[in-house]
């Protein structure tokens, strides 16, 4: 892996564990295994710059992960379950010590971090834009609102899971929200819950 990429990977891992405060320059360098001098070469803006870039890279990586989860599911209800299952799997694999980088940074923002806040906001917007089209609700605004609800529950599920050492909050949310998805899509004036908007 290229040095620059190693820094980004290390920063993402630290952000997922403890937000902005955890991702100190020294911690990023130590976790990356790269020499310290070259961090400022790659990121002359220091901590805010590397965190911002790490969040941008994280946005792309999570987008790919979510797209894969959605691709394997054939109905809206199954898509809800697949998204939450993918999140639960990541949380559990980390021993409940690592969650969403954007979420952890969000709860660690202060007034000096507007550029970082923009990157967190952009992560949320990108996630909703990616996920919404997979839920053919009665109109695009309602689909976006439902995708946004899924994201809110995922971020909250991570919060709960980190403290509870359990995926239970995520599993419960998947149950409730897959039922909502099923009902919403059945209520469409279309060919029932399995119909695909793409077909016509």
């Amino acid at each position: 892996m290229e040095t620059r990429e190693r820094y980004i990977h290390a920063a993402i891992a630290l952000l997922r564990e403890g937000g902005y405060a955890r991702a100190g320059i020294n911690e990023i360098v130590a976790a990356s295994g790269a020499p310290k001098g070259s961090l400022y070469h790659h990121f002359p803006g220091g901590k805010q710059e590397i965190v911002r870039e790490a969040l941008d890279a994280y946005t792309l990586a999570v987008g790919e992960y979510a797209a894969r989860a959605l691709a394997g599911a054939s109905t809206p209800a199954r898509r809800v379950r697949a998204l939450f299952a993918a999140v639960a799997q990541r949380l559990e694999a980390s021993g409940f010590r690592s969650s969403c980088a954007a979420g952890a940074v969000a709860l660690d923002l202060d007034a000096d971090l507007e550029a970082v806040r923009d990157a967190v906001h952009a992560f949320f917007a990108a996630w909703v834009a990616l996920v919404a089209p997979h839920f053919p609700l009665r109109d695009p605004a309602r689909a976006a609102s439902f995708a946004s609800l899924l994201l809110t529950a995922i971020e909250g599920g991570y919060v709960r899971g980190r403290a509870e050492h359990s995926t239970r909050a995520l599993d419960e949310a998947a149950e409730w929200l897959s039922a909502v998805a099923e009902r919403e899509c059945a209520a469409r004036p279309a060919r029932g819950p399995q119909s695909r908007t793409r077909k016509r």
Copy 2:
């Protein structure tokens, strides 16, 4: 206010802004306005002890706040809206810089903080236990699961709101979940959505 209480208040405010990392001993002392020497007199265990006690005090305060919000609402759907509105109001009043102390600490936990993790977990459990009886679903387990979903969405709504400087995620969740509450309570084999289990 007594010195001990001033420390606890200062710790809660810092935890709400930036989790465990933000609530350093020096920061707590500075924010409290009390002399440093007396912090260790009141909390010989130092940072972990004061954070744990702050989370316990926060659990009681949020419980009272949630109970007041619920008391003013006459139907399950209105109770959902009242809970989210109370949260949105607190978030907005802080200029979107302060959220749930338990949530912020949750995303900041590491393996050395088991006692703190217990206090966060206890906060979540107490909230669900307090809120669930206000939702007369078809059985107590389902009511607890629904209350748990509300908590998950509130924690996620705080995460979103901190980054988005908006209560939109909370408002959206309130819309969707109040509709779920209404449908669930209407589906009970009872006297409709306004019926009270207590009456019989």
